[in-house]
Every structure is written in structure tokens, then in C-alpha cells.
């Protein structure tokens, strides 16, 4: 089990290219995912059956399916139907990176929807009722009271999901996108040395994940500065916020779905 520093150094430029692709992919998906998730979360709990059921179906399908299948689905499935054609859709599905963004967004957004939904549900009903009693418009109740609080409640789970997702991008080479893992693997197939490139890539991911973790912790501290004293609620939520767990529903002990 040898590590070859010369090879590692030599492969740095390619690895940095790959790292850049990984970051670009992850950032695009996280942004898009959040954008989609908030309306979806609202739709989930809406009183219109069509909206609620469609949103539920979206979450069930895209959360329950492993990311790799979704990537294949978009790249090979839609790619086969639209790829050969001219025009916008053809260009979209011919591009492996864009297919990856679409596939991962479908998956990631379904988790974030559940996290946002959990956050919204954790907002104490009393606050919402008080706001309504004060005559505040429903739209403002949502945007200025429920959503900001939901963000606070769901933040830990959201941070976990972002980090887990960033690591999950490593499989994207199955649809030909050259990310950090793909670069490492290419070096391995060329040199037959598995350890040097894979360990180097692992180190890059580790640094990236930790930077994310620290950055998100800062955001958390900034949002929750006033809650430093109120540890108990934060702890109860933290117990349930684990691997890809959406935020808990209010009573302790209910399984996170």
C-alpha cells in the first residue's frame, strides 16, 4: 500500500479540474434544489388534493430512488428521446453535465422538500394563530414568520443533507461527467496504482466537506445567536437529524419519514 507523492503532484492540475466540476455541480444543484423545494413543501401540505398528491408523488418517487438510477434515467432515458433532436431540449439532454444537474436536483430537492416541510410543521401553532389574530396577511405570516422559523428548525438537517449530497456527486462519472472521482479513477486506470489517486481525491473531498461543515456552522451560529441559551429544543431535534433525515415532526419519538 504505497503512496507515490510524485504521481500525486503530477496529477494535481487534472484533479483540480475535477474538483472544480464537482463544486460546480454541487453548487448548481443545491441552489436549484432549494428553489424548487420551498414551493413543493407548501404544496405538500396544501388543501388542494391535486397539489398535495402531486407533491407527495414527487417526493416519494425521487427520494426513494437511488441517485444513480435517476442519473441513468435522465441521461439515457430522456437523452434517447430528445437527444438526437435539434433545439433546446436536444442541446439540454445531450449535455452530460446538465443531465447530471437535472438528475441530482430531482433527488436532492425531494429531500430538501421534506426538511422544509418538517421545519414548517415544527413552527409552534400558537405563533401562527397569534399572527392571524393580529390581522397579518397569510402571505406575510408565511414569509415573515413561518419560513424564517422553519429555516431555523430545519437548518441542522439541511446542513447534513447538503454535505451528504456533495459526497454523493462522486458517482456522476457513470454518465461521463468528469468530476474529481472520475479524474482519480482515470489516473488509476492509466497507472494501475489505486492508492495514490484515490487517496489524493479522498483528501480533496475531506477538505471540501470540512470547509462546508465549518461554513454551514457559521451560518447556523449567525442565525441562532439568540438561541444559545435555549439548548434543549436544539438537542431534541439533533437526535433525529441523522443521515439524510428530514427535520423531525414536533413530538419527540415520531419517526422522520
Amino acid at each position: 500500500m504505497k503512496f507515490d507523492p510524485a504521481l500525486a503532484l503530477h496529477s494535481l492540475p487534472d484533479m483540480l479540474h475535477g474538483l472544480w466540476a464537482t463544486i460546480a455541480l454541487a453548487a448548481s444543484v443545491v441552489a436549484l434544489g432549494l428553489l424548487i423545494a420551498i414551493p413543493l413543501a407548501v404544496a405538500r401540505d396544501s388543501r388542494h388534493p391535486v397539489l398535495a398528491w402531486s407533491a407527495a408523488a414527487y417526493v416519494i418517487f425521487f427520494r426513494g430512488t437511488p441517485a444513480m438510477i435517476l442519473l441513468f434515467f435522465v441521461y439515457f432515458g430522456f437523452g434517447q428521446v430528445f437527444g438526437a433532436r435539434d433545439g433546446f431540449l436536444g442541446a439540454l439532454f445531450s449535455n452530460a453535465f446538465l443531465c447530471a444537474v437535472i438528475g441530482f436536483t430531482l433527488n436532492h430537492s425531494s429531500y430538501v422538500t421534506e426538511i422544509v416541510r418538517g421545519g414548517l410543521l415544527a413552527v409552534p401553532k400558537g405563533l401562527v394563530e397569534a399572527a392571524a389574530a393580529l390581522g397579518i396577511e397569510p402571505r406575510d405570516v408565511f414569509l415573515r414568520i413561518r419560513l424564517p422559523l422553519a429555516i431555523r428548525y430545519g437548518l441542522k438537517a439541511y446542513q447534513n443533507e447538503v454535505i451528504l449530497f456533495t459526497k454523493a456527486t462522486a458517482v456522476v462519472s457513470v454518465i461521463t461527467v468528469v468530476d474529481l472521482t472520475a479524474v482519480a479513477n482515470n489516473i488509476f486506470y492509466d497507472t494501475y496504482d489505486p492508492f495514490t489517486p484515490l487517496l489524493t481525491a479522498a483528501a480533496f473531498y475531506w477538505v471540501l466537506v470540512n470547509l462546508l461543515r465549518i461554513g454551514l456552522a457559521r451560518v447556523d451560529a449567525w442565525l441562532n445567536a439568540h438561541l444559545k441559551a435555549d439548548e434543549s429544543r436544539g438537542q431534541a431535534i439533533a437526535v433525529h437529524s441523522t443521515a439524510r433525515a428530514p427535520a423531525p415532526l414536533a413530538p419527540l419519538g415520531e419517526p422522520a419519514q
Partner: protein, 277 residues
């Protein structure tokens, strides 16, 4: 509660405990040989709808094992995994054709040559590429991970081309047909039989220039591909070579080959070919 726990533990651990040794390891037993084959390199190897590995190379390998009086297991894995797995001892040999590139010659032992299969570009029929760095700038080339043609393309054209990486030839073919890659660089026999001779291949052509990616000093009639074993396994290689030579000499090679490929691919089988006409 205890009963549930025990039941759960049994259900959960049962797969682990009953896993046969060969599910967890590829341990090479003294009496059994494990060979690796790509499995997706038609017409030389393919896996049919029932899951059976077939094609010229697996059939040749099975015949070889019969003559070696050895019990063989042929394992299918992506081409890119074959040589690393061989070097790590997961396989005793690779029975997919390997080009003797300078990088490989130092790391593995090559058998006698088994077939000739040079490499060419496969491009759209209406295209007019100049095969230079400038001529291929920005062109998306489908390549197989770990393959000799892939390494050649990356070394020769570097950043000019956009390599798109796949695990096997079938994947590249699909992507060429749906327009996601512009061209490929691969084995002539394969692309002729699997694409150009088929109806879907009418939009493609293969320029005549054929490349040999092994040692340029090799005389033309000896520019062939072989199977490989690890350095140190000379004894095994001798047995394999002996069996393979006998297969070629008594024309069993030709018989097997003609099930999949209708023309000769090895000078040494000349004496088996019926005169044309």
C-alpha cells in the same frame, strides 16, 4: 423483545454468515484458474439475454482450459478493471485481447499473439477531419477507460480533443448513434462488424489508416494482440501457449472464430482457410 432481537439478528446476519467463500473472495485455489474477460466487446465477447458469457474469446478460453486440463472460471468485469485485478491477484490471467503497449510490456507477461486488430478512427460519413491537434479541436471522442486506444488519443491529442469516457464499446456505439459524441478511435474488426456493416452504421465511416499501438519495431505480420498473466507466472503462460498453439494448429481456432467473424484475423490460421473461389 429478546425474541424479536434474536429473530432480527438472524435475518440480518444470515446473508453474511452463509456467504460462500467465493462471494467474498476471489481466492485463487491451486486447482482452479480464474480468468477475466471484458464481456462487452462484440464480436469477441458478449453476454447474452440469459446471462451467459459468449463470443470468440470466451469460447477460445474454454477450449484452452479443456486442453490445459484445468478447471477455469471466467469472470466478467469492465475492461478498466482487468489489468489492475490481474496485478492484484484477483485473476490468474486476462482472456480479453490486450495490446502490447510499451507501458504494459514492463508490467505483465504476454502470451503468443492470438489475433490481429489494429485501431482506426470512426467518423461520421460526411465529415472531413484532419487528424491533427488543430483538426480535432473540441471534438468529442468516445473512449473506453483503461484501453490502449484511449491512452493513445490522450497522449497524441492532449487538450485538443474532449475525451468522453465509457466503460465499453457498446456504450460508445449508443452515444455515437444518438449524437453525444462526434467520433471514436477503436478496434477495426469490432467497429466494422458491429457498426459499419450494420444498417445503423450507414452514417459512419472508417478511414483506411490503421494504427498499431505496440512497439513500432514489431514486424507487420507479428503485430497482434495477446492474453496476459502476471510476471512470475511463466509456467502458467507456457501451458496456455501450448494449448493455444495446438488449438490454432488443428484448426479448432478457425472453427470457433468463424462462428463470430467471417474473415481471418490471424496469419497463423492460414493453413486452415479454404481457398476462396
Amino acid at each position: 423483545m429478546k425474541k424479536t432481537l434474536v429473530a432480527f439478528a438472524i435475518a440480518a446476519f444470515l446473508p453474511t454468515f452463509t456467504a460462500r467463500a467465493d462471494k467474498l473472495t476471489f481466492t485463487a485455489r491451486a486447482d482452479k484458474l480464474t480468468f477475466g474477460n471484458e464481456g462487452v466487446y462484440p464480436p469477441f465477447s458478449m453476454v447474452d439475454a440469459s446471462g451467459k458469457l459468449t463470443g470468440f474469446e470466451p469460447e477460445l478460453a474454454r477450449e484452452m482450459c479443456k486442453r490445459m486440463d484445468a478447471e477455469c472460471d471466467i469472470v466478467v468485469m469492465d475492461f478498466k478493471a482487468l489489468i489492475p485485478s490481474l496485478l492484484q491477484g484477483k485473476l490468474d490471467g486476462v482472456v480479453s485481447q490486450i495490446t502490447p503497449t510499451p507501458e504494459r510490456v514492463g508490467k505483465v507477461l504476454f502470451s503468443r499473439i492470438l489475433l490481429q486488430n489494429l485501431y482506426s478512427f470512426v467518423v461520421p460519413v460526411n465529415s472531413n477531419y484532419a487528424f491533427t491537434k488543430e483538426g480535432l479541436k473540441g471534438v468529442k471522442v468516445g473512449l473506453t477507460r483503461g484501453g490502449a486506444p484511449a491512452k493513445y488519443m490522450v497522449d497524441a491529442f492532449g487538450d485538443a480533443i474532449v475525451p468522453v469516457w465509457y466503460d465499453n464499446q457498446d456504450q460508445i456505439k449508443l452515444e455515437m448513434l444518438n449524437g453525444r459524441v462526434d467520433m471514436t478511435f477503436g478496434a477495426r474488426v469490432n467497429w466494422r462488424l458491429e457498426l459499419l456493416d450494420k444498417p445503423e452504421g450507414k452514417g459512419w465511416k472508417m478511414p483506411d489508416e490503421a494504427f498499431w499501438l505496440g512497439d513500432p519495431k514489431t514486424p507487420e505480420d507479428r503485430r497482434g494482440l495477446s492474453w496476459i498473466v502476471r510476471p512470475g507466472d511463466e509456467k502458467l503462460l507456457e501451458r496456455m501457449n501450448a494449448a493455444l498453439t495446438s488449438i490454432i494448429e488443428d484448426c479448432t481456432y478457425t472453427k470457433l472464430r468463424s462462428q463470430f467473424i467471417q474473415f481471418s484475423i490471424l496469419p497463423a490460421e492460414a493453413h486452415c482457410l479454404k481457398p476462396s473461389g
